[in-house]
């Protein structure tokens, strides 16, 4: 399944900055960062549940928000990028 994960974490306090880092780290473990707080994720349904549970445990429900969009298959492939956007390597060969 293809997911788009975006988040807003309140960073006015040191704890908020810590939560932001943890949310980012969790997302980096499952998807590709395409903008500062936007991740493209390709995963299986169990992995999605796992991700949701972990994010739930990190954020402060009163201050932060995470949105997870479930996209149609192939959406990432068809996405159009303008400007200094990165093209996340979901399907391409991974050769470095």
């Amino acid at each position: 399944m293809e997911l788009l994960v975006t988040y807003d974490v309140d960073t006015t306090t040191p704890e908020g900055e810590r939560r932001l880092r943890q949310v980012a780290k969790t997302c980096e473990g499952i998807g590709h960062r395409v903008q500062k707080s936007v991740f493209e994720v390709v995963c299986t349904p169990p992995q999605r549940l796992h991700l949701e549970a972990r994010l739930q445990g990190i954020i402060d429900p009163a201050l932060d928000s995470v949105r997870i969009y479930h996209l149609d298959r192939g959406t990432f492939h068809n996405a159009k990028h303008l400007g200094a956007a990165v093209d996340a390597a979901h399907q391409e060969a991974l050769i470095i």
Binding site: T26, E28, H32, C43, Q47, A93, I95, I96
Partner: protein, 396 residues
């Protein structure tokens, strides 16, 4: 009550001494889901769960292989992600580990201990190879605990009749697939080239007939060797402009260089598939056992070579996608791929691994990347006695 307990105890004893794995009880998991990371072998007509109604690609996400070729690159573990660092490339480059099932590192690339340990724990294998694609080392976490299978593998090796049958099966698969490749090439051409290709294909047909009557292992090897020689002598017909004949250790021309590199890549994936299934890659049937020689991996490769490697290499050569400028000749006459050439080949190789191929035994299409694994599992079934025969993977 006492009677029932006694019966149950008796049944458990029989199970423990029998040496056979019982079928799963009350296991409601769909085979497809529990094996989605690997390969589902559910044949058509078998009871399936609702997930099977989904389109073939609806649920499985093909995990990918990371090829780390650039010397000086180091790979690190960063949370649940893999961080790629190279002194010339600033910035943080991250890949989610969850989407990788294999890492191939050329020498000159370093991996941190943390990353290696994490991969071992997850069962994600890492292979180290030389700049020419020769196998160096491999980690794959703990061995699969399947002693019955391993014993069955050794017992089959010690039974001359069974061993010969399997060896003949591997060769038959190879000959059949090479024949298909030759006939297909012949269809797209005319004149003497077509005639010569058809002659070589006929040669393979005869070899298949001889193979059916072969009674010893050396006879089988002889038939295979003759057919292979005929095939490589006709290499200039398959890819015009190429030298004929097979050279290796080291390859001395472009076509051989690409074939060697491709076989190396295929070997990495077959070796991994065998280990994942719990078979010992070093105890084979066609290729004699010798220390350090992954005989079973070489056996299983035979039937996969023509379609998964040769055809890709021939396509690349005929389309001019890889030419002499992608190789360099060393003073001794050895030809090897340049960094650029290696990258080009791997790009095409990765794309080719996603291509679905028909799989007659399973009755559906399987991506090239998963074919070694499905073959290894079918072989394991045969060795354990669950399947009567092992049929090579062939296409018509």
């Amino acid at each position: 009550m006492a009677d029932r307990v006694a019966r149950a105890v008796h049944a458990v004893r029989a199970l423990l001494t029998g040496g056979d794995l019982p079928p799963p009880v009350n296991d409601k998991r769909c085979h497809r889901c529990s094996l989605a990371r690997t390969a589902c072998l559910t044949a058509p007509g078998q009871p399936t769960c609702s997930h099977h109604a989904l389109p073939e690609t609806g649920l499985t996400e093909l995990l990918r292989t990371l090829f780390a070729t650039t010397p000086g690159t180091s790979l690190h573990l960063d949370g649940d992600a893999l961080r790629i660092a190279h002194p010339d490339k600033p910035g943080r480059h991250l890949l989610p580990l969850i989407r990788l099932d294999h890492i191939v590192a050329w020498n000159g690339v370093s991996l941190t201990d943390d990353l290696i340990h994490r991969c071992a724990a997850d069962g994600r294998s890492i292979t180290w190879i030389t700049r020419n694609g020769r196998f160096l080392a491999r980690t794959s976490g703990p061995h699969t605990g399947n002693p019955h299978l391993r014993l069955a593998q050794v017992r089959t090796h010690d039974d001359p009749a069974l061993r010969l049958t399997l060896a003949k099966t591997f060769v038959a698969g190879k000959l059949h697939n090479y024949r298909q490749l030759l006939l297909r090439a012949a269809r797209d051409t005319t004149g003497t080239r077509q005639t010569r290709l058809r002659d070589t294909a006929d040669n393979h047909t005869q070899a298949l007939t001889q193979l059916a009557e072969a009674t010893t292992l050396s006879e089988t090897l002889g038939i295979e060797g003759n057919a292979a020689r005929a095939y490589f002598q006709g290499l200039d017909q398959l890819a015009p402009g190429m030298a004929t004949g097979r050279t290796r250790r080291p390859p001395t021309d472009l076509a051989n260089c690409l074939l060697s590199f491709g076989y190396g890549m295929l070997r990495v994936s077959v070796h991994g598939a065998l280990e994942q299934v719990g078979l010992d890659p070093y105890i084979g049937y066609l290729h004699g056992i010798r220390p350090g020689k992954p005989a079973l991996a070489l056996d299983l490769m035979e039937e996969l070579r023509p379609l998964l490697v040769d055809r890709l290499v021939l396509t690349l050569l005929n389309r001019g996608q890889i030419t002499d400028r992608h190789t360099q000749t060393l003073p001794g006459g050895a030809v090897q791929l340049t960094d650029e050439g290696r990258k080009t080949f791997l790009e095409h190789w990765s794309k080719a691994r996603e291509r679905p191929w028909p799989h007659a035994t399973l009755g559906r299409d399987v991506p090239a990347a998963l074919i070694p694994l499905t073959r290894a599992r079918l072989l394991a079934r045969h060795l354990r006695g669950t399947a009567d025969t092992y049929q090579p993977w062939t296409i018509t």
